[in-house]
C-alpha cells in the first residue's frame, strides 16, 4: 500500500514524472489485471448453452476474461500514470451552476417542451411522431411529475419513501374504477367529463392514503421508515392482485375512458373534437392533447412545490430535514409537518396515476412494481435532492435514455445483429450512478437556493445541507 500512498502524494504535490513511478504503475496495473481476471472467470469465462437436442454443454470463452483483465490493467495503469504526472483527477467536481444560468436553462427547457409536439410533427411527420410524442414525451413527463412529487417528501422533508409507487397505483385505480364502474352506473351524464372530475378525486384519495401511511410511520426514522414504506408499496400491489372482485387481479382493468377535450371526445364522430374544430380526424390530436395535459400537470406540481418552499409549511419541511429536535423546540408540530409532506407528495402521484390510467386505457398491477419506485427515487437522488431542475434532468436521462437506446439500431452495424442496446440499459445506468456518486455525491444540482434573503441570494453548498433522517 505504501507505493500507492507515495504515488498519491506525489500526484498532489509534484508535476514531474519520475521514472520509478512508472514501474509502480505497471506493477499495480498487473496486480489489478490479475484480480479482474480471477473475478471474471465465473461470470465471463463459463457459459452454458444447449445444443440442438436441448442438452446443456459448457462453453469456455477465454477471450472474455482476458479482455476484462486488459481493461483492468489500462484503467489502473492509466490512472496511476496520470496521477504521477501531476494531472489531478479531482475526487469531487465542485462545479457550481449559478442560479441565473439554471433559470435560463429552465426557461429554454420549458419553451422546448411547449414546442415539442410541433417540432416532432415537423421533423418526423405524422406517422412517426406518435411514437416520439407518446412513448417518449408523455412517458418522460409522467416521470418528471412523479419525480417532482417525490421530491417534496424526500428532497424537502427528508423522509425516505421507497413505496411512492403505491400512491401512483391508488390514483390509477381510483380513476379506473370511478370511470368504468361508478360513473356509468350512477352519473352517466358525467362520463364525457370523467377524467376531469376524477383527476382531483384521485389526487385527494392518494393524499388520504398518504396520511394513512404517514400516521403509523411517524415515529420511524431512516432505515426503518424506508423499510415500512417499501412494505406499504408491496401491500398495495398485493391487494390489487388479490382483491379480484374489485380490481380483477392480474387481468387488470381495461376500457378505461380516455380524457376528452373538456367534454369533446377525440373521435371521428360528428360531436368529436376534429369535427367541431373543422379538422381532419387523426389519432394524433389526442396524443398531442395528452402531452399538453401531462405537461400542465407536471408544471402544476412544480409550481406548487416551488411555492410551498417559500411558505411556512415548506420551510418547516426543510427545517425538519435539517434537525427535527430543533423544530420541536421552536414549537413546530412535526407530526402535522410530516403528514402534510406525505399527503401533498402522494396526491401528485395520485394525479399522475390517474393520467397514466387514462392514457394507457388499461392498467394492471404489473405497472406498479417496486422498480417504478426505484426509478423515481433514483431520479430524485441523482438530480440533487430538493432541486427541481436537477430532478427533471435526471428523469429525462433515466426514462428518456431508455427510449433512446431503443433507437440506436445503427450500433448493430458495429457489434453484429445480435446486439440489443436496451439490454445494456441497467449497465449504463449503473456506471452513470457510480460516476455521479464519485464526482457529484449530492446529485447533479446539489446546491440549495435559500427561500428568502435580505441583501443577496447565495446558493448553499450541498455539504451543509442534510439529507434528513426520516
Amino acid at each position: 500500500m505504501t507505493s500507492i500512498d507515495h504515488l498519491v502524494t506525489t500526484g498532489r504535490g509534484q508535476t514531474k514524472f519520475v521514472e520509478g513511478k512508472l514501474g509502480t504503475a505497471v506493477r499495480e496495473g498487473v496486480k489489478f489485471a490479475a484480480l479482474m481476471f480471477c473475478l471474471s472467470i465465473p461470470i465471463l469465462l463459463l457459459r452454458i448453452d444447449s445444443d440442438i437436442d436441448h442438452k446443456p454443454f459448457l462453453q469456455l470463452r477465454w477471450t472474455w476474461p482476458l479482455l476484462a483483465a486488459a481493461i483492468g490493467f489500462l484503467v489502473r495503469f492509466g490512472g496511476l500514470a496520470l496521477a504521477s504526472t501531476g494531472t489531478k483527477i479531482s475526487s469531487k467536481i465542485n462545479w457550481h451552476i449559478p442560479p441565473s444560468l439554471s433559470r435560463y436553462f429552465a426557461t429554454a427547457g420549458l419553451v422546448f417542451l411547449v414546442l415539442y409536439p410541433l417540432l416532432m410533427l415537423a421533423l418526423v411527420g405524422r406517422a412517426g411522431s406518435i411514437k416520439w410524442i407518446d412513448n417518449f414525451g408523455i412517458q418522460v413527463m409522467i416521470y418528471v411529475m412523479l419525480g417532482w412529487g417525490l421530491n417534496i417528501v424526500v428532497g424537502l422533508a427528508g423522509l425516505l419513501d421507497l413505496g411512492y409507487v403505491a400512491f401512483y397505483a391508488v390514483g390509477a385505480y381510483s380513476y379506473a374504477l370511478l370511470s368504468t364502474v361508478v360513473i356509468p352506473l350512477y352519473v352517466p351524464w358525467l362520463s364525457p367529463w370523467a377524467f376531469w372530475v376524477c383527476l382531483p378525486m384521485a389526487g385527494l384519495l392518494a393524499g388520504v392514503w398518504g396520511i394513512l401511511l404517514g400516521l403509523p410511520v411517524l415515529r420511524l426514522r431512516g432505515d426503518y421508515l424506508a423499510i415500512v414504506t417499501l412494505a406499504f408499496g408491496e401491500i398495495i400491489r398485493l391487494v390489487l392482485i388479490n382483491w379480484t372482485d374489485v380490481t380483477k387481479g392480474y387481468a387488470g382493468i381495461s376500457g378505461i375512458p380516455r380524457p376528452s377535450f373538456f367534454g369533446l371526445p377525440f373521435t371521428a364522430a360528428d360531436n368529436g373534437f376534429a369535427a367541431r374544430f373543422g379538422l381532419e380526424f387523426t389519432p394524433l390530436h389526442r396524443t398531442i392533447f395528452l402531452f399538453y395535459v401531462i405537461l400542465a400537470l407536471a408544471l402544476l406540481t412544480n409550481w406548487v412545490s416551488m411555492r410551498l418552499r417559500r411558505l411556512p409549511v415548506g420551510r418547516a419541511w426543510e427545517a425538519l430535514r435539517e434537525d427535527e429536535i430543533a423544530c420541536r423546540s421552536l414549537g413546530i408540530n412535526t407530526t402535522n409537518t410530516k403528514l402534510t409532506a406525505f399527503a401533498i407528495g402522494a396526491s401528485f402521484a395520485g394525479m399522475a396515476g390517474s393520467f397514466f390510467a387514462a392514457r394507457q386505457n388499461f392498467i394492471s398491477p404489473e405497472s406498479f412494481t417496486f422498480n417504478e419506485s426505484a426509478v423515481i427515487l433514483a431520479a430524485v437522488v441523482l438530480g440533487g435532492m430538493g432541486s427541481q431542475l436537477g430532478v427533471a434532468i435526471a428523469a429525462f436521462a433515466m426514462v428518456g435514455g431508455t427510449e433512446i437506446l431503443r433507437e440506436l439500431d445503427w450500433l448493430k452495424a458495429i457489434f453484429g445483429n445480435n446486439f440489443d442496446p436496451t439490454q445494456y440499459r441497467m449497465l449504463i445506468f449503473g456506471f452513470g450512478m457510480v460516476a455521479l456518486m464519485i464526482w457529484k455525491p449530492r446529485g447533479l444540482i446539489g446546491t440549495r437556493e435559500p427561500s428568502l434573503f435580505i441583501a443577496e441570494k447565495k446558493s448553499i453548498s450541498g455539504d451543509l445541507v442534510k439529507e434528513g433522517h426520516g
Binding site: V304, R307, L308, L311, P312, V313, R315, A316, E318, A319, R321, E322, D323, I325, A326, C327, R328, S329, L330, G331, I332, N333, T334, T340, R448, P450, S451, L452, F453, I454, A455, E456, K457, K458, I460, S461, L464, V465, K466
Partner: protein, 305 residues
C-alpha cells in the same frame, strides 16, 4: 430571591429516573419573572435532564412543573391540576401551563418556553435569516391561512412575512449577525452559531428562555458579547432566563438567583453571593479534604433523607 419577585415557573418535587438511575431526585425550585436563574453543578448533576423535563423532551417520572402568568396563584394551579387539562388560559389574563402534561412542541408554542441546546442545533443548510423565519413558524402558518392564502400570495400573508423579516432583522442586529444574514448557518463561526441559536429562540417570543451552556467554548470576548445579549434579553424583553452554565464568571455576573445541583439533588438555592459562600457548594465543586470526607458523607446522608 428578592421579596417582590413574581414567580413564573414552579418546579415541585420533580424526579426523573432512567431505569435504576435517579438523574433528578425530588427537585423543587421557583424561577421568577424577569430574572436570570442559573442552574449550576458538577458534570452529571442532572442539569440538562431538568431542562429536558421542563421543555418536554423528557417526561419526568413524578412531580409538577407549572408555568403561571397574569398573577395566577396556587389556587389556580391546583384547579388546573384537578381538572386534568394540560393548560388553561383565562380571559382575565391568568394562565397556568402544566408542562409535564404537554408535548414538547406545545410547550414552545403555547407556554412560550424556548430553549437552546448544549450541542448547537441550527438548521445548518438554511441561511441565518431562514433560521429566524422558521422560528416564527406558528405565527406565519396562521397568517398563511394554513398555506391556502399563502399559495396565492394574499397581501395579508405577504405583510405578515415582511413583519417576520423585520423581527428577524431586529434580532440579527442585536446578535451582531446582520452582515451574515444570507449565509448558511453552518458556515458561521462557533460563537456566532451560539448567538444565532439564542436569537432564534427569541424569535418565538418566549416568556421563559432556557439556555443550556451558552458560554461553552467561547473565548472571553465572545463571552462578554453573550453576557451583553443575555442582559438585553432580560431587561428589555421581559423574558425570564433559566441558564445552565459552567463558566462561573458568566453565572456570578449576570444571574439573579442560583440553584446548585449535585447528583440530582439540590444542595443550594439563593443569590449568587449566598451560593458562593455555601460550604456544600464549595465541597461539591472543589472536593473536600480527606479528613472531611466523613462530615461530607453525613451532609449528603442528611440531604438524601
Amino acid at each position: 430571591m428578592p421579596k417582590d419577585a413574581v414567580p413564573l415557573l414552579h418546579v415541585e418535587h420533580m424526579s426523573m429516573r432512567f431505569g435504576g438511575l435517579v438523574a433528578v431526585d425530588d427537585l423543587s425550585f421557583i424561577a421568577s419573572e424577569g430574572e436570570i436563574t442559573a442552574l449550576i453543578g458538577p458534570n452529571g448533576a442532572g442539569k440538562t435532564t431538568v431542562f429536558n423535563c421542563i421543555t418536554g423532551f423528557y417526561k419526568p417520572t413524578s412531580g409538577r412543573m407549572a408555568l403561571v402568568g397574569g398573577g395566577a396563584g396556587a389556587d389556580e394551579v391546583a384547579a388546573v391540576t384537578q381538572s386534568g387539562r394540560r393548560y388553561v388560559r383565562e380571559t382575565n389574563g391568568k394562565s397556568v401551563f402544566l408542562l409535564e402534561r404537554m408535548p414538547d412542541f406545545q410547550i414552545a408554542a403555547e407556554a412560550k418556553v424556548a430553549r437552546t441546546f448544549q450541542n448547537i442545533r441550527l438548521f445548518a443548510g438554511m441561511t441565518v435569516l431562514e433560521n429566524l423565519i422558521v422560528a416564527q413558524h406558528n405565527a406565519l402558518m396562521a397568517a398563511s391561512g394554513f398555506t391556502i392564502y399563502g399559495l396565492f400570495g394574499v397581501r395579508s400573508y405577504r405583510s405578515a412575512e415582511a413583519r417576520a423579516v423585520q423581527l428577524a432583522k431586529y434580532w440579527l442586529d442585536k446578535a451582531g449577525l446582520m452582515n451574515r444574514a444570507d449565509d448558511p448557518a453552518g458556515d458561521l463561526p462557533y460563537g456566532a452559531q451560539r448567538r444565532l441559536e439564542i436569537v432564534r429562540a427569541m424569535c418565538t417570543g418566549p416568556r421563559l428562555l432556557c439556555l443550556d451552556e451558552p458560554a461553552a467554548g467561547l473565548n472571553p470576548r465572545e463571552s462578554a458579547d453573550l453576557n451583553a445579549l443575555l442582559r438585553l434579553i432580560s431587561r428589555e424583553h421581559s423574558t425570564s432566563i433559566l441558564l445552565i452554565e459552567h463558566d462561573m464568571s458568566v453565572v456570578m455576573e449576570i444571574s439573579d438567583h442560583v440553584i446548585v445541583l449535585e447528583y440530582g439533588i439540590k444542595i443550594s438555592d439563593g443569590s449568587p453571593e449566598d451560593v458562593r459562600k455555601d460550604p456544600r457548594v464549595i465541597a461539591a465543586y472543589l472536593g473536600v479534604e480527606d479528613e472531611e470526607i466523613e462530615v461530607a458523607e453525613q451532609v449528603v446522608a442528611e440531604l438524601i433523607r
